[in-house]
Each structure stands twice: as C-alpha cells, then as structure tokens.
C-alpha cells in the first residue's frame, strides 16, 4: 500500500507541475465549453449538449493521451526502466495512473457542472452524485483502454496512430459532438459499437431524463468490466523498456478490452436497448 500511495502522491505532484496537464485537463476543455456555450447554450437542452461534449472531450483526452501516450512516453524515455530494477510490480504504476487521472479530472467536472448551472442555468441533475460516479467510472474505463494501447504499441509512432484511430471516431461517432439523431443505417450501427456512445447516453439519461445511476446499471457494468479487463490486459502486457518489443498480433488485445462495448453494440443493433 505504501508503494501505491507514494506513486499516486508523486504522480499528482508531477501532473500539477506540467503546464500541458493543466492546459489539456482544464484550460482547453473550458475554452471549448465557453466557446460552445456562447454559441449554442441558449436552451437547457443545448447547454446539456455542450456539457456532454466537454465531458466526453475531457474523458477521451484523459484516457488516450493522459494515460496512453504518457505511458508510452515514460517507456520511451527510459523512465519505467528505473522502476523495473525495484521490487515493485506494474500494478502500483497502473493504479497510480488511474487514480491520478481521476483525481485531476474530477475537479474539472465539478467546476464544469457548477458553471453550467451558475452561468447558464442548467438545472442540477437529479442524481448529481450518481452522474459524478458514472463519469468517474467512464474515465477509469477509458484510461484503462489508453493503457492497453500503450501496452500493445511498440513505440510512440505506433501509439500515436492507435490513439488517433480511437480518439477521433469516439469523439465524432459517439454522439458527443455530432448528435446521435443524425446517424442512420450503417452509421447508426457503427454508432452502436462506439464505446463513447454509452458514456454520452448515460449522461443524457442522468442530465436530461432525470434518471439515476442505478437506472443506468448496464452502462455502469460495462464501464466497470472494461476497466477490469483493460487493467488486467495492461498489467499482463506491461513493458518496462522500449527494447522489449511486442508482436504485432498483440494489438488484438485492444479488441478484447473493447468486448463489453462490442457486446452492447450487438444488443443495441438487435433492438435490445438499455439506454434509449
């Protein structure tokens, strides 16, 4: 436990000393929030849409860039190599990444919801605590996916490609930026398989439809399972050194980590919906 606490405390300190972390975790999403709120935040529903977009942007950024790219960077810079000679396993580093990401992200969510309420009159969600828990679980699930990508990427170039392959489709096709109502036919089916869809749908349910966390238990379950699968895969495939290469076929582990969302996508496509 001593190791976990030491790593978490240090990760938080390091994160707060990096301007990039402050910029991408707070300033950039807030600029985004205020810009869109100014143009689109005229009605409650529009404001809820802006909040969902800002949250999704933050969750995906934290997951893929904050956890994924950062882990690859630490490996490429031979930082993880220094940890390798100590008696610790990868577990404190992975848990540290999850917890730090969450602790840094949570104040942003609270601030965002508060500003949406205070400045733009967005009503508090009925189950606001449940909403925070739901967003937190999503954040941990997406950070786990980011760490799986870091585990299967052999270098920064591969990591960047994989991250971009996930980040943009998840941002554009999950209903956070482009509203889900515009997706029809094949696009609708694809939308059902995009993991961020379930983050957005859960937020819609809790922010606009007055649902509770409990009523979104399927979404919660999927996030929790993804976090566990992702955490387990990244632990098993964890590499401390850039020289330790992983075979190309290991990239399929990303698909394994996505299985809970794929299962949900199949059910949604068959008309068995837990969200709408």
């Amino acid at each position: 436990m001593k190791q976990y606490l030491a790593i978490i405390a240090m990760d938080i300190r390091l994160a707060l000393r990096l301007r990039a972390v402050i910029f991408f975790n707070y300033l950039f999403p807030l600029i985004f929030f205020f810009t869109f709120a100014a143009f689109m935040g005229r009605t409650t529903e529009q404001m809820a849409y802006v909040v969902r977009m800002s949250v999704t942007l933050g969750v995906l950024g934290s997951g893929f860039f904050g956890a994924g790219i950062r882990a690859i960077q630490d490996r490429e810079l031979n930082i993880l190599r220094r940890y390798k000679v100590t008696p610790i396993t990868p577990a404190p580093l992975l848990v540290g990444s999850m917890v730090t990401g969450w602790l840094i992200f949570l104040p942003y969510i609270v601030l965002l919801l508060y500003m949406a309420h205070a400045l733009y009159h967005l009503p508090w969600p009925k189950d606001w605590l449940g909403l925070l828990v739901f967003i937190s679980l999503a954040l941990i699930a997406f950070r786990a996916l980011g760490l799986v990508i870091a585990s299967v990427a052999n270098n920064m170039q591969e990591g960047q490609i994989l991250v971009q392959l996930f980040y943009f489709p998840l941002l554009l096709l999950g209903g956070a930026t482009v509203p889900s109502e515009v997706f029809h036919g094949v696009m609708r089916t694809i939308h059902n398989f995009v993991p961020s869809t379930y983050l957005v749908d859960g937020m819609i349910n809790m922010m606009s439809k007055g649902q509770t966390l409990f009523q979104n238990w399927v979404g919660v379950l999927v996030m929790v399972i993804t976090a566990f699968i992702g955490g387990f895969i990244s632990f098993k495939l964890f590499r401390w050194e850039k020289e330790e290469k992983i075979r190309g076929s290991a990239k399929w582990w990303v698909v394994v980590a996505l299985l809970p969302f794929i299962a949900l996508g199949v059910l949604e496509s068959m008309g068995i919906s837990f969200f709408k």
Binding site: K2, Q3, A6, I7, M10, R13, L14, R17, L18, D74, L77, N78, I79, R81, R82, Y83, K84, V85, T86, P87, I88, T89
Partner: protein, 309 residues
C-alpha cells in the same frame, strides 16, 4: 568454513532470437569484492548483469545472487540489491529528494534520503528538478537511488560512460567508498583505467564468452612476455646491424631510424643488453621507456580487438 559466494554463475547463456549474446559463462563473486566485467560494446556484459539483476530471463545455465534465483525470486532479489543502470531517466519535474523518497518507499528497508544526499554531495540540489541537473549530478543521483535500500550488493552498469574526466574521478571516489564499506560491487565498464583502479578481480568478456579472469595484476602478468621498450637515440641506427637481444621477441626501427621498439619477456635483461650495445656503437641515448602490459594490452592480445571497438 565454507563461505557462499554472493554471486555464482554456471554455464550461463542468453539468446535473443537467433543471436547468442552470452555463450555459457562461469564465474563467482565473493562478499566484499569489486568484480569487473570488461569488454567492448556488444560483448555480453549488460546481458549478463541484467540477468543477475533479475531484469532478463536467462536462456540456460544456473545463476544465484545472494542465494536467490534471479528468474524465480525476482522481487526478493530486487529488494536486496542496488542497481545503477547504463541508460535510465526520471521525470523531468521530479525533485532530487522526492525521487529518493519515492524509490525508497518501494523497498522493505531504506535509509534516510537526507543522509544519502549529503553523502553524494547532492544536498544543495535536493529541491532541484531532475531536468535541471548536470550529467554528473544525474549520475550521482542514480548512485544514490542504487543505495537507497542500503544494499549489500551493487550492480553498476557503465557508471561513468559519457561523463567528463573530473566527474568520472568523483564517481570512482564514490565507488571506492562503497568498497571500503565492504559492499560487493559488480561493475561493467569499457574504461581500462576504471577496472584497474577499482576492481579486485576482472573478467574479460568478448563475444559472449569470458576469455580471461583474475586480478588485474594476474591478467597483466599473463601478458608479461610482451613488455615494450622504446629507445630514442640522437643518431639513426642501422637496421641491418641490430643484433638479436636475449629474450627479445620482436624489434623494429621507426622510419627515421632513431626510435627502436623492442618487445621482451624479460625487459630488465633485454634493456641492459641494449644499453651495452648502444654504448659499444657509440650512440647517444636521448630517451628510454619501459612499458609493462596494461589490461588494454591483455585485452587486445586475447581478443584481437580494442575495448572501444
């Protein structure tokens, strides 16, 4: 009394895909000894040391370190050893003392960071970010991190590579301190003078095999038949007139005929005979050098390569 070696290695092999990096090596390291692995880049030094540190699995053979099997008891082993890696890094924004406290928290036993910082002359830099440290300060911090769990066995993988001579001397001083504290040290290097100065015993490793092992003096003595005598005269000598001096193995004159180089197995006797001959020839002597073989000479003789090849 039968004293168990701190490290025992038998028929150790390591293969990467089809490349055999370590080809069946054997050696032992006793408690309190500074043991050097000397060899050029790619000789198999780092692979050997990393197997012993529990960082890489071995392909074959046996190895025990402090009584642990580095493959099967990695965590217990890592808790007891100190390691200074050849290429490593820390986050740029970590402060020096924070790094020691963080890494100290990973071990079941650790010594105070304050004590270590003072000892390694980093106290004034305790609040500095890692990214602001000079190369020598970073290396001193790497050594401090290797000592944070007060290990009895230290692995130092090329601890002075890339550092300027003054910093290298500082690091040598620190390693000598560790030696005086009776810690066992395994050191890899391709600096001959480092091995000669610091090591009690040296294994010369080339192409994955140990080609010689012993104290630096023992290794030098193996090559004693090749002491080199350089004679510089005021006038040129006649190459055709050079006699066969006793115990001389090879003689040669340089281009202008003024510098004579003789390799001898008994240099004192050969030198005496050369002096006698020069006197008979009426030659005026300007300079004399007698050079005993260094570890570098031994290395070149045994492997046919230079250490920094």
């Amino acid at each position: 009394m039968n004293i168990q070696p701190v490290i025992a290695v038998q028929s150790l092999t390591k293969t990467y895909d089809k490349v055999e990096a370590v080809k069946g090596i054997d050696f032992q390291v006793a408690e309190g000894e500074v043991f050097g692995l000397l060899g050029p880049n790619g000789a198999g030094k780092t692979s050997t040391i990393e197997i012993l540190e529990g960082l890489r699995p071995r392909t074959g053979g046996e190895a025990t370190v402090l009584g642990f099997d580095p493959d099967r008891q990695k965590q217990q082993l890592k808790d007891r050893i100190g390691v200074c890696l050849q290429a490593t890094n820390l986050p740029g924004k970590i402060r020096v003392q924070e790094a020691l406290d963080l890494f100290g928290s990973f071990y079941s036993r650790c010594i105070s960071s304050e004590q270590l910082l003072k000892r390694l002359q980093l106290w004034d830099k305790r609040s500095a970010y890692y990214e602001t440290l000079s190369g020598g300060q970073k290396q001193r911090l790497a050594l401090a991190l290797a000592l944070v769990n007060d290990p009895q066995l230290l692995f130092l993988d090329e601890p002075t590579t890339g550092l300027d001579p003054q910093i290298r001397l500082e690091i040598h001083g620190l390693i000598e301190e560790m030696k005086s504290e009776k810690r066992t040290v395994v050191l890899t290097t391709h600096y001959i003078e480092e091995a000669e100065r610091l090591c009690d015993r040296v294994a010369i490793i080339d192409a994955g095999k140990i080609v010689a092992i012993g104290t630096p003096r023992e290794l030098q003595q193996k090559s004693a038949e090749r002491s080199r005598i350089d004679i510089v005269c005021a006038q040129p000598m006649n190459a055709a007139a050079l006699p066969q001096w006793p115990d001389a193995l090879e003689s040669k004159l340089d281009g202008d005929g003024r510098t004579l180089t003789v390799y001898s197995s008994r240099p004192a006797r050969t030198l005496f005979e050369i002096m006698k001959w020069l006197d008979q020839q009426g030659m005026q002597l300007e300079d004399v050098h007698l050079k005993r073989p260094t570890l570098e000479d031994v290395f070149v003789e045994l492997t046919g390569k230079k250490l920094r090849d």
